[in-house]
Every structure is written in structure tokens, then in C-alpha cells.
């Protein structure tokens, strides 16, 4: 039986950079998955992503998180990006300890709005965050480009992201 989980591209930053871009994404898969290991130039930055260069307020997110003290849930409407590790400024990306995020994008080439599940983990030896996000991009366009960035910061050297395609039978 044919393999259906394939790496499309990997980027590892050699120097601090504003964004990691995956472009010309083929529409031949069913779902996409991105694995990200990231640090940022500003502590507490959220991990952001946009699809197809769309930075209009077409994104929203419902999240649940635990920061070692409390569990909470928040929602943000009409955002200009999708988010991971957005719960609070103290629980986002670290400048030194890599955070681990996975982004699952369902039916990215389909005709419905696009929903992405994000699992984010950031631990900083005394502070940190485990966060699960349900992101919506209100567009029926097929996703052919994804830009990953840190909110108001650069992604640091050593940040790595791999884009996978998952193909159903």
C-alpha cells in the first residue's frame, strides 16, 4: 500500500528571520501538517501563520491552555493571522528554550473554510504553557502558501519547520 504521509519541505533558519514561507504547495494531498520547533527574538511572542498571503481579518481561534497554575479558554475573532501559543505574553515562544508546535490543516485544498488544529508546548523551567488551538480561516480558496512568523519578533536561528502532506485513499 502506498505511503500517504510525505514531507514536502523543511526549513531551518541559519539566522534570525521574520518568516518561514512554504510556497507553491501542491493540492495533491488531503491534509497538511507542520511540525515547528521555534525560538524567537522576543520572549513571549505568539507563533503566527497566514495562508495565501492573506493578512486581512479573516482568522479566528478558540483555545484552551494550562500554564502550570490555571487552565483557561479564550477566543479571538476577526484576527489578521492564525495563532499558536497565544494565551498570554508570558507563555509564548522563548528566546532560548525551543517550543514545539504542530499544525494540522484539514482539507486545505477543499471548498470549505479551512480549520487548523494547533498543539503548542512551551516549557521554560518554572513557567510555560500547554495550549490547544482551533483556528479558522474564512476562505474557500485552496491553500498554496503558508507563512510562519513570531508576533512582533523574528524567528531565531535554529528554528525549524517541516511541512508534510497527508493523502487519503
Amino acid at each position: 500500500m502506498a505511503s500517504t504521509y510525505e514531507p514536502i519541505a523543511t526549513t531551518t533558519l541559519g539566522s534570525a528571520t521574520a518568516a518561514i514561507t512554504f510556497s507553491s504547495i501542491p493540492s495533491t494531498y488531503t491534509d497538511l501538517k507542520i511540525i515547528i520547533v521555534a525560538t524567537a527574538s522576543v520572549s513571549g511572542s505568539a507563533l503566527q501563520f497566514i495562508f495565501n498571503n492573506d493578512s486581512a481579518s479573516n482568522y479566528s481561534v478558540t483555545l484552551i491552555n494550562g500554564n502550570g497554575v490555571n487552565a483557561s479558554s479564550n477566543k479571538y475573532s476577526n484576527q489578521s493571522t492564525g495563532y499558536g501559543l497565544v494565551a498570554s505574553s508570558s507563555t509564548g515562544l522563548s528566546t532560548s528554550v525551543p517550543s514545539f508546535l504542530s499544525i494540522d490543516i484539514f482539507s486545505y485544498a477543499g471548498s470549505t473554510f479551512k480549520t487548523a488544529l494547533v498543539a503548542g508546548n512551551a516549557d521554560k523551567n518554572g513557567s510555560g504553557n500547554v495550549e490547544y488551538d482551533v483556528n479558522l480561516w474564512r476562505s474557500t480558496s485552496a491553500i498554496n502558501r503558508i507563512d510562519l512568523s513570531a508576533q512582533s519578533a523574528n524567528l531565531s536561528a535554529g528554528t525549524t519547520a517541516t511541512l508534510y502532506g497527508i493523502k487519503a485513499a
Binding site: T11, D31, S60, T62, S72, V134, L136, A168
Partner: protein
Amino acid sequence: MPILGILASSKLGSLSSFESIATATGTGSSGTITFSSISSTYKHLQIRALARSTEAATGFTNLLVQVNGDTATNYSIHNLIGDGSGVSTVGYASQSLMELGAVVRNNETANIMGVSIIDIVDYASTTKNKTFRSFSGWDANGSGRNLLLSSAWYSTSAINSLTIKISGATNYFTTNSTFALYGIKG
């Protein structure tokens, strides 16, 4: 050519241990999807679901799962749910089914779907009960749910059939609902 400051690679090898087993699509006239004759040749299973119901209501309903046609009270459920305002958790013992995802009802904004990733570990074991885990949710730009779900099926039988359904005799999966079953080799 790699972008300056970036080490880039592409056309990497495939992950041959993750295979597509079967895919089913909603018909608009049935609330049940069944994956049957599941081979025991994998170590784990994963279901990736995109689901919406024909039910004329807002919000969501649960994606329900039963194993090997077992409708007895051999299941248990625990969940952790965020609604954008608060967090809740609940557990149920001795259930006749599992709640493993979100299905968006049809009065929500068009094109919004519930999504779920359901992992079923060691499904072919004949000595262990079976544990299920799901990350699921939906967002409708101001409303939504974030679901972290766990269930168990108390049987040492290998899983060879999975039935996915929604509650309500006249509630059906829409034609843009899709359910993909994958096998992961050990």
C-alpha cells in the same frame, strides 16, 4: 537554491509507516459511517474527520464511535472542553459509545466544519483494553469549542470495525463530510 540565511531542503523521502486504509464521505442521507474488515497489520490507527450535520440547529453535536459492533456498556469517556470563556471537564463510566469529536450543526455559518484527529493505540492487541485519544474542535469566528477527549473500550478483542455516527435518527452527515482511516506501522 536555498534562500540566504536559510538551509532548505525539499523532495524528502516518504514516511512509509503511515498508510491510508480507507476514506468515506457523507451522503446527506445517513448518520453512520463504518470502516469494516480493518487489517491487524498495523500498530496504531488514526482517523482524521471533517464533519458537519444536516441537523437544523446551531452549535455542535458529538461524533460518536463504537467498536466491532459492540453496543453494550463497555465504554468510558473523559473530556476537557474549552468554549472560549471557560474550561470544563466531565467523565462517564459504562457507556454504550464513545464521544470522540465535534460535528458542526447545519445552522452554523456555511462552510464551517468540525475537525478531529482520533488516535487508537495498539488496536490489534488481544491482551489489552483499548484507549482512544482525540483532539477536536470547531471555530465560527466568535463561537466554537476546543475538545480534548479520551475514551476506552473494555475488550481484549482486536479492533476490526469502527462505526462513526451522530445522534438523532434524522440527523445525517453532509456531503462535504469526510472520514479518513490511516494505519501506522510499528
